[in-house]
């Protein structure tokens, strides 16, 4: 049997089984790849991550060409090898090939949990702005100019969000950059 790591044609001598999501997954590695993956120290071996990573690698293959992250120089091949990304910008760079894999791996692809406080205000603000803009275009559509003027004033009032003013970013911001800018 051949080693299941990409770009490896050695005979597999290490065979592992784990149950992930109630499904039995098997992996076969040659001695060298097993060593690389830390299998020789069975207690430190992240089998689940490796299994998910293998699925990820094949997902990534269907992606478009050989991408490289402009921020850290991480390439698609590096991800296939390690199952890890290079920096937070990689998520934007590899967004397309990652999409299918995230769908398989997680419950959804939209984060619904905790948001850092500084961003929370900003996100609420963006949401409010989007809502008002929708109301505005609807009012214009229905030629309800009184309502449109009202909403327009509200939108203007939004220019500075309440409480701690945060620099409003472009609509639908997906930036992973610092919220406070500064030294990081």
């Amino acid at each position: 049997m051949q080693c299941c790591q990409p770009d490896c044609e050695n005979e597999a001598t290490v065979h592992l089984t784990e149950i992930v999501d109630g499904q039995m997954k098997k992996i076969d590695l040659c001695e060298e790849c097993a060593k690389d993956q830390g299998v020789t120290d069975p207690k430190g071996f992240a089998l689940a991550d490796l299994l998910l990573g293998l699925g990820a690698a094949s997902e990534m293959e269907s992606g478009s060409g050989e991408l490289e992250c402009p921020a850290c120089g991480f390439a698609q091949a590096d991800f296939k090898k390690s199952g890890r990304l290079g920096c937070s910008d990689c998520y934007a760079t590899f967004a397309e090939p990652l999409e299918g894999m995230l769908k398989q791996m997680h419950k959804g692809t939209q984060h619904v949990g905790k948001v850092p406080k500084a961003l929370r205000q900003e996100m609420d603000f963006t949401k409010q702005q989007q809502q008002l803009e929708k109301q505005l275009s609807k009012a214009i559509e229905t030629e309800d100019y009184e309502q449109a003027a009202l909403v327009r004033d509200q939108l203007r009032g939004l220019d500075v969000p309440p409480e701690e003013p945060v620099e409003p970013k472009a609509k639908g911001t997906k930036s992973a950059k610092g919220v406070k800018g500064g030294e990081v």
Binding site: L52, G86, G113, P116, L119, A176, K177
Partner: protein, 357 residues
């Protein structure tokens, strides 16, 4: 400060009681976080990792929850120190292999720990005894929020907290409970339970996390998915699942008492006999047999034997704790001798198995 002086004694550590601790030994929450504008540790060159660590470590150590705590680079820590931390579940095995450019911050009571530059810039953990997944999340949440003032976490409106491995993306949360399931193991039901729990999207692992086998009848249940579900929902689901496993374990123990009492007493009595009288005993055998004694204590079959003592012996039997106790480096064979001495000393005084009339 020296780590071994900082760490609380094993007696103190084993003395902590928690709700439902006849089945749930501890509840844990781990959060993965990264700061913006820096490559993840796996990608960063050594100089960059050192710089990042020096940037993050003071911010963590200065948090009010870390007052009186321990903060150190991984470099000066001895192999034995690192192994002690692993055995106490304060760092991962992966982190124990790290040196310069990685760090560790522990709170005074050891309930909070932060690994710096493990797989992510920050891996934070809160640990409480017994079934307290909700409380342990609140503790972690507060601490995480307190760090936001000093650190800009890499976050995306759609993908949530950005992590080195996509399996941790979103909430970056891993909630786990350490379960003691001797009843389910002895009644051959544990595989069924493990399968049911994994079907619900949870992972079941052995004592020291990924890839480790279950010894001492200990199983760790944790969530698998981190994106597309809120922390509160993830916690709630784990809590419910654990409550159900507890019920099954309780039933299994009762079934054993009702239908296979002799077999059960035989297992527990033999375990006691071995540990109280052996002169050479491996750590695996010790864990499995102490586990049976723990079951015996919880079923009130022993007079004068307590769970804190057993939990302390469990911890002391681990290789690094054994060496710290004896005060010298020991080979595996030497450890087996010292371990047996320790167990005899504590267990031979106990008046054996006392069966109900």
């Amino acid at each position: 400060m020296e780590l071994q002086k900082f760490l609380s004694s094993t007696t103190e550590l084993a003395g902590h009681e928690g709700p439902q601790d006849h089945v749930v030994l501890s509840s844990r929450v781990r959060l993965a976080r990264n700061v913006t504008g820096r490559p993840f540790p796996g990608r960063a060159k050594k100089a960059s990792r050192v710089e990042t660590c020096e940037f993050i470590q003071p911010a963590i150590a200065a948090a009010s929850a870390m007052r009186g705590g321990f903060s150190e680079s991984m470099q000066p820590l001895q192999a034995l120190d690192k192994q002690l931390l692993v055995e106490r579940h304060l760092i991962s095995r992966e982190h124990a292999a790290k040196g310069a450019g990685s760090g560790l911050v522990l709170s005074k009571d050891e309930t909070l720990s932060v690994m710096i530059n493990e797989e992510d810039h920050l891996r934070m953990q809160a640990l409480l005894p017994g079934l307290q997944v909700k409380q342990v999340w609140q503790k972690m949440d507060r601490f995480d929020t307190s760090l936001e003032k000093k650190l800009d976490f890499a976050f995306d409106a759609r993908l949530g907290y950005l992590t080195a491995c996509p399996t941790n993306l979103g909430t970056g949360i891993r909630v786990s409970a350490m379960l003691h399931l001797p009843g389910l193991v002895l009644t051959d039901q544990v595989n069924q339970i493990v399968q049911a729990v994994t079907k619900l999207g949870h992972a079941v692992r052995g004592l020291y996390g990924e890839g480790t086998e279950a010894s001492g009848h200990l199983f760790q249940v944790s969530n698998q998915m981190t994106l597309g579900e809120s922390e509160a929902d993830i916690i709630e689901r784990i809590h419910k699942v654990v409550l159900q496993v507890i019920e099954h374990e309780e039933n299994a123990r009762q079934t054993l008492l009702r239908t296979k009492a002799k077999e059960l007493y035989n297992h527990i009595g033999r375990a006691y006999g071995t540990l109280a009288h052996a002169h050479i005993v491996s750590s695996k055998e010790t864990m499995d047999k102490l586990s049976l004694l723990r079951l015996g204590v919880k079923l009130e079959l022993f007079k004068g034997l307590t769970t804190p003592l057993l939990d302390e012996l469990f911890l002391l039997s681990q290789p690094a704790h054994m060496q710290e106790l004896v005060g010298e480096k020991l080979s595996g064979e030497e450890r087996d001798l010292h371990r047996a001495d320790l167990l005899r000393k504590h267990l031979s005084k106990v008046k054996g198995l006392k069966l109900p009339e």
